[in-house]
């Protein structure tokens, strides 16, 4: 009967233990990561009685069980990694978006807007210093805006390294903690204990780690949980590895496993977010902003370099950009233009330099052929110095300096020459002979011809191939230069002039006494040039004037050559024909300036060109001709932009874009015009048109629409990261709930348990007292 006491005791013990567990559960109601524990009760081993039957000996608490769902825990860990990454991504994107400061007046969109606005305003009064100052100030705001964006994005990018370091430190703490717990759990459970609360702690630690990096857990039978972080084993039983943040070969941040040194391919968690921000959106954004700044510099400067400042043509100019001494010989002038380290590429093309006589306003334009692969900076300086009244050299800092003689100015504008016949090649007061054959000319053999000026004796002029730099094909302007030199050497009052790609000879004497005749000699150079022979051209009492108005609106560069195709007096003789030819020799039209022609009537040639042919007479026999350069782009080589000669912006990208020092020092240097008068806004019109122009460098976008696209993309990304964070958080909440639903403590449940165990306890106690009474009965039986 005595075992009955034990049965009761066991029942009481089991009930007490159960109640204590309920107490533990209730006490941990709010403990994060706590899993409720449950006592598993079973009946005790039965007793074998005589007669072959068994009798139970009460109840035992066999195990205290943690109620967990291992697979759910794994899912939570994964989700935690996704959530951590989304959190970092969102924080980073919000920061990036905040830096843009859109929409608002301080954002780049507002700044560009103001800049073009003040350009538009300046157009209405281009001479106003206040408006010029405002335009330059607004340009400065744009450049400051770019600099600030570049600087802040770069620092955002560099900031991630210390952040990664911090997170790696956190990860290491967790890894070590997990390893320590593993060791304890293994030793405890080897002794048959249930390390439930240590397991809870370990699970919480793994969960924290999973927020940093993607984690996989392998549970072993000995109770150890081995942890793989981003595919690398970082916790194995009681040993934990160390992670380190380091710079990779390309300068990017990496996370490595300390002992093996191999880089982790982190895909989830906050670390993944940080590493992704460094390699993902930011460089792309910086690149696009850089592209925008580059396009702004390139296109604005293309326009500005070919304009004319407020006070007319420039008298001296220094390039903003300098050459790099690539071959390290201490000289800057021997670098090829393509290898001189300029921020923008020099293309093969032409540069037209206009030299103006500041007194008369007469313009002489020279075409320089630019070939970046064979031309050095020094060659360019020489070519510019070769132009009359200009001097250029490369200074010790590698910059190109151009200076004009006193009384002369220069610019690179493609404006129409207002008086194209001022040299007197078309019905001028001086005798002239014009060539009917276009260049370039083949002058590869020695040649000679004779000229007689003003009725004087014929002088022989010889030409040898060594006279020319270009060989064998000599362009008209070079030939004219060489011939003029030879005429001067022979003391002849004669000048050679390039008319388009043709040649004309003009006597320096004027009036009816002026005369000119040419005779062909060896090699028949005159025939090759189309210069009329057997004709004595004579001067006139007064020369014919040609006036050109308007600005060329057509495409492409070239010239229009006007040739007398009959002789006579303008406006008087029945038919006086002038043929107009394009550069390629095709005929544009024929104009009749004979009877009925009013010298005050504009002859409209299309593309914005109006020509006035004034009074006078022209001669077909003398080859009267003149040419009007029609330039849509007076610098097709971009050499001005590359060198920063009369540029608006300097620099090459978002980080170093700035308004050119020249403009900051003197707002008058803003090349608003094409003609050179104070109120002339011809160039500003081109600049303003830039706003609406789609640019090749920006993938067919305008400056503003490109930037809007960038800002909207940042908006989309930020929005996406927000939405992602929301959905990850919701999912996380769902999983946490799920876990809570399984492992969480429910007070009602615990109350019920409490009552159950209380009643069991009371009943067992009652059972013992009953047994006790029964024992009393037995003891008192013998009395």
């Amino acid at each position: 009967m005595s075992f009955g006491f034990y049965t009761g005791l066991r029942g009481m013990n089991a009930a007490r233990l159960g109640m204590e567990l309920v107490g533990h559960n209730i006490a941990n109601l709010n403990t994060p990561g706590f899993s409720r524990q449950q006592a598993l009760q079973s009946s005790a081993f039965p007793m074998q009685l005589l007669g072959g039957f068994q009798i139970g000996t009460g109840a035992d608490i066999s195990t205290v069980r943690r109620i967990v769902d291992e697979r759910l825990d794994a899912r939570i860990r994964t989700q935690n990694g996704l959530f951590g990454k989304a959190l970092v991504d969102n924080r980073r994107m919000s920061e990036i978006e905040g830096v843009l400061a859109e929409p608002g007046d301080d954002g780049m969109s507002g700044l560009l807007n103001s800049f073009f606005g003040s350009i538009g305003k300046l157009r209405s009064d281009a001479g106003s210093r206040a408006l010029r100052g405002a335009a330059i100030q607004d340009a400065r705001s744009v450049t400051d805006g770019f600099n600030l964006l570049a600087q802040r994005y770069t620092s955002l990018r560099e900031d991630s390294f210390p952040e990664v370091e911090g997170e790696v430190e956190n990860a290491n703490l967790e890894i070590q903690h997990i390893a320590d717990l593993n060791a304890q759990i293994i030793s405890l459970e080897a002794n048959g204990h249930q390390a439930n609360d240590l397991r809870d702690e370990r699970e919480a630690s793994i969960k924290r780690l999973s927020e940093l990096v993607d984690v996989r857990v392998v549970t072993k039978t000995n109770g150890s949980a081995d942890v793989m972080a981003a595919g690398h084993l970082v916790v194995s039983s009681g040993r934990g590895a160390k992670l380190v943040a380091a710079r990779g070969k390309d300068g990017s941040t990496e996370v490595r496993v300390g002992d093996t040194g191999s880089a982790l391919d982190v895909r989830q968690g906050r670390l993944a977010g940080l590493l992704h921000a460094e390699g993902g959106v930011l460089p792309d954004l910086l690149e696009r902003l850089d592209g925008l700044a580059r396009s702004l510099i390139l296109e604005t400067n293309r326009v500005h370099t070919t304009g004319v400042p407020r006070n007319g043509p420039m008298t001296s100019l220094v390039s903003d950009n300098h050459a790099i001494d690539g071959d390290d010989d201490g000289r800057y002038d021997d670098e090829l233009l393509e290898a001189a380290g300029f921020p923008f590429d020099v293309k093969g093309g032409d540069l037209w330099v206009a030299v103006s006589d500041l007194d008369t306003g007469d313009v002489t334009r020279t075409r320089l052929a630019i070939d970046p692969r064979s031309m050095t900076l020094g060659d360019l300086a020489t070519a510019i110095s070769d132009i009359d009244h200009l001097d250029a050299h490369v200074d010790p800092s590698g910059r190109l300096r151009i200076k004009a003689e006193t009384g002369w100015g220069f610019d690179f504008s493609g404006r129409l020459d207002p008086s194209p016949a001022s040299k007197g090649t078309f019905g001028g007061a001086s005798a002239s002979l014009g060539g009917g054959v276009g260049g370039p000319f083949d002058l590869s053999t020695p040649m000679a011809f004779q000229v007689a000026v003003d009725g004087g004796a014929a002088t022989t002029i010889t030409l040898s191939p060594t006279d020319f730099r270009s060989s064998p094909e000599v362009p008209a302007d070079e030939l004219a230069k060489v011939l003029t030199g030879k005429f001067k050497a022979a003391s002849l009052g004669l000048e050679a002039v390039a008319v388009g790609n043709h040649l004309s000879l003009v006597a320096t004497s004027t009036g009816t006494a002026s005369s000119l005749a040419a005779t062909d000699g060896a090699g028949s150079p005159l025939a090759a040039l189309g210069i009329p022979t057997g004709v004595t051209a004579s001067g006139r009492a007064s020369g014919l004037e040609v006036e050109v108005q308007g600005s060329y609106t057509g495409k492409g560069n070239g010239h229009l050559r006007f040739v007398a195709e009959s002789s006579g007096t303008v406006g008087v003789d029945p038919q006086v024909l002038v043929g107009v030819y394009r550069e390629d020799g095709t005929k544009l039209t024929t104009i009749d300036v004979g009877r009925g022609h009013d010298p005050l009537d504009a002859i409209d040639l299309g593309d914005g060109i109006q020509v006035f042919i004034k009074h006078g007479s022209i001669s077909q026999a003398d080859g009267d001709q003149f040419a009007v350069d029609t330039l849509a782009d007076s610098d097709t080589s971009d050499v001005l932009v590359a060198l920063g000669l009369n540029g608006f912006f300097s620099g090459s990208g978002a980080a170093d874009i700035a308004v050119s020092e020249r403009l900051l020092a003197d707002p008058d240097a803003l090349s608003a015009g094409l003609v050179g008068t104070q109120g002339d806004a011809g160039n500003l019109a081109r600049l303003a048109a830039l706003r609406e122009r789609t640019l090749e460098g920006l993938g067919g976008h305008t400056l503003e629409s490109f930037y809007d696209g960038v800002a909207a993309d940042v908006g989309f990304e930020t929005r996406k990261s927000e939405d992602l964070l929301q959905s990850e958080a919701t999912l996380m909440g769902f999983l946490e709930n799920e876990r809570e639903s399984i492992s969480g403590v429910n007070l009602d449940e615990e109350m019920v348990e409490l009552v159950k165990y209380q009643q069991a306890f009371q009943a067992s106690a009652r059972f013992i007292s009953q047994m006790s009474e029964m024992t009393d009965v037995l003891i008192n039986l013998g009395r």
């Binding site: 001479g127 007064s542 003609v675 104070q678 809007d708 969480g744 429910n746």
Partner: protein, 372 residues
């Protein structure tokens, strides 16, 4: 959600929902306080992208508005200058009529000359009108004073220093309006084609030679049979001398002239022409300005300008009709002022079309009166 509901679950849920609501509330508050629905691109990227061009456009429209205001100011000022110029011209006209009176004595003429000089100065001030620090009538050379009175050996005249390019402003996309025009086209429509005259005596009592050169068209009808001046052809069909033609007017006493060495004759003044009687048989040379063909859009550049015949300036143009002409009975000096061609242009800018060189018209009588 599983079967079990725990206390923590309810608490978490409530917190989650409260947080979400607080977030929404914050967004709404932000919209309320900024007055904008989109405060950053991520608020609504699609609308942001659609909104940006509108923002740019709005700014552009503001610029166009500014420009239109500016154009209004400048053109208004130019128009009032033109109205004033019309006043000056009509006063000059009165003066001319007054001066064409043969009974006026020398002192009266001097006085008249002084008044005329005053008018020239006034006209000059109008031509040099400014808005702020920019000249209205100097084309794009807005910092250069457009008109200057110059005296040299050949006389006193007004010179133009501006250029012929207009300053334009954009008042709508692609719509450009000229705000300042070339002063030349406003005040000196004929200046580009000015005929130069040389000589010393004019058609005054006494003998001398004047010659004119430049752009002018004369139709000459010759009804006589002899005494044809050089350069003129006979017949009833008008011959044309266009420009660059020098001829000589010889004035003989009293009130006779001869052209290019032809016989001396007394000119007979008609409304539209001058007839010069040649010889005694009654043949006359008739000088008449022929209309030149011109194209649309261009203001008349060689519009008729009045000058006194035979003083220093002879111009076929002046022979055009309608202008009030005054001729001094004894000296033959002529004064002509025409104000019939003054128009207001459609754009609101006052423009003098088909009218005379406003300055040099006025300059002449003053000088004339000064020299007895």
């Amino acid at each position: 959600m599983g079967l079990r509901i725990t206390q923590a679950m309810s608490a978490n849920r409530a917190l989650f929902d409260l947080t979400r609501n607080a977030l929404r509330l914050q967004q709404t508050r932000e919209q309320l306080s900024t007055g904008r629905r989109i405060n950053r691109p991520s608020d609504d990227p699609v609308t942001f992208l659609r909104m940006q061009p509108k923002r740019n456009e709005k700014q552009l429209v503001a610029l166009f508005q500014d420009n239109a205001h500016l154009a209004g100011d400048v053109l208004g000022l130019a128009a009032s200058s033109m109205e004033d110029a019309v006043q000056v011209l009509s006063r000059a006209k009165e003066l001319a009529v007054q001066g064409a009176n043969g009974t006026m004595g020398e002192a009266d003429r001097r006085l008249l000359g002084k008044t005329a000089r005053q008018l020239v100065t006034e006209m000059l001030a109008l031509g040099n009108g400014k808005l702020g620090d920019r000249y209205l009538f100097s084309g794009t050379a807005t910092g250069t004073m457009p008109f200057e009175m110059v005296s040299d050996a050949s006389g006193t005249f007004v010179r133009y220093h501006g250029d012929d390019n207009p300053v334009t402003v954009e008042i709508a996309a692609g719509v450009e309006v000229d705000v300042t025009s070339s002063g030349r086209s406003m005040f000196l429509p004929g200046a580009r084609t000015r005929t130069s005259f040389e000589g010393a005596t004019g058609a005054r009592p006494g003998v001398g030679t004047d010659s004119g050169r430049g752009l002018h068209t004369l139709s000459v009808e010759w009804t006589g049979l002899s005494g044809l001046p050089a350069g003129l052809s006979a017949g009833t069909t008008p011959a044309t001398i266009l420009g660059d033609h020098a001829w000589t007017i010889t004035a003989g006493p009293p009130d006779t002239i001869s052209i290019d060495g032809g016989p001396q004759a007394q000119p007979i003044w008609h409304r539209r022409r001058v007839q010069v009687q040649v010889g005694t048989t009654g043949e006359t040379v008739s000088l008449r300005r022929s209309a030149t063909r011109r194209r649309a859009r261009r203001p008349a550049r060689c519009a008729p300008r009045p000058h006194e015949l035979g003083r220093k300036e002879l111009d076929g143009d002046r022979l055009r009709g309608n202008e009030p002409a005054g001729r001094h009975a004894s000296t033959g000096a002529m004064l002509n002022v025409d104000s019939t061609g003054i128009l207001r242009s459609r754009a609101g800018a006052g423009q003098l079309r088909r009218t005379y060189d406003a300055f040099n018209v006025l300059a002449s009588p003053g000088r004339d009166a000064r020299e007895p």
